[in-house]
């Protein structure tokens, strides 16, 4: 078992465990912190796949900006573990069964897929570098890039209008 395999399994176990802890944590602040751990594990996967640009963007945008926003909103509302009423545990059991059934369907559908000799190339291949992605982004995708800036502007205006008092 090489270094790549060890890193893959470590990051996968970290991602799955942290994701489960996001769902089962009672305190919303702990959920946010576990979600940051998930994002770090997924960024580790991106680095393992040599998608360096996406790894850095994932860390800056998700773990840096979005999670800080979540944390601020939670602290603004002063939520703690006893604000969520624990009623109707049958609904919870039904949710878990539904999620597990979805997992079962996915695994059963993909178990016999003919992908045995398809490999994802790890640690080499240079399409994920900033140089190549930047050329593709500003040559072929420059119009969607500019449209996304309009999207950001409208989201900003929308957030201000919605969050404004009266």
């Amino acid at each position: 078992m090489g270094m790549t395999q060890i890193l893959f399994w470590f990051l996968s176990v970290l991602a799955l465990f942290s994701a489960i802890m996001v769902v089962v944590s009672k305190n919303p602040v702990h959920s946010v912190l576990w979600l940051i751990a998930v994002f770090f594990a997924i960024s580790g996967h991106y680095i393992l796949l040599n998608a360096q640009f996406l790894a850095i963007v994932n860390l800056i945008v998700y773990a840096g900006a979005i999670m800080v926003l979540f944390l601020f909103v939670i602290m603004l509302m002063n939520l703690n573990s006893d604000t969520e009423p624990q009623k109707n545990k049958w609904l919870k059991i039904a949710g878990v069964i539904a999620g597990g059934a979805l997992l079962l369907v996915f695994v059963a559908a993909l178990k016999n897929a003919d992908l045995k000799n398809q490999m994802a190339e790890v640690t080499n291949g240079d399409i994920g570098l900033i140089h190549n992605l930047g050329i593709a982004l500003f040559k072929d995708y420059v119009v969607p890039f500019e449209i996304s800036s309009v999207l950001f502007l409208s989201a900003m205006v929308g957030a201000v209008v919605i969050g404004k008092k009266e």
Binding site: S31, A51, L69, V73, L102, M119, I127, L133, A155
Partner: protein, 109 residues
């Protein structure tokens, strides 16, 4: 790594996110589980981009670049979505003094 491992990892993360959306009542945690599902799909897209890069090596040197640009745009849209969604949650908390989605049943009456 075989592509199967990435597929099953992404499926497991996605199903954990679905379970969180179905079981939790707190609107912020539901929102975080949606982010978890988005990230599992991103991971799968990046793994597939590297798979086709390996299959087409030599013919197209930049095969798979489009998938990674796609992931970048998913992140852009997710950032915009989070800002508006959190504004909606803050407004909901101001009106009902709770982030419990069970209280959002006014359309029923």
């Amino acid at each position: 790594m075989p592509i199967n491992y990435y597929i099953f990892l992404s499926v497991a993360l996605f199903c954990i996110g679905v379970t969180g959306v179905l079981t939790r009542r707190n609107a912020i945690i539901i929102f975080m589980c949606v982010e978890l599902m988005l990230n599992s799909v991103n991971l799968l897209l990046v793994a597939f981009s590297k798979m086709h890069h390996l299959a087409l090596i030599g013919k197209h040197a930049d095969a798979g670049t489009n998938a990674q640009i796609f992931v970048f745009f998913i992140m852009v849209v997710a950032a915009a979505e989070v800002s508006v969604g959190l504004a909606i949650i803050v407004m909901m908390y101001r009106n009902t003094h709770s982030v419990d989605v069970n209280f959002l049943n006014r359309l029923k009456h």
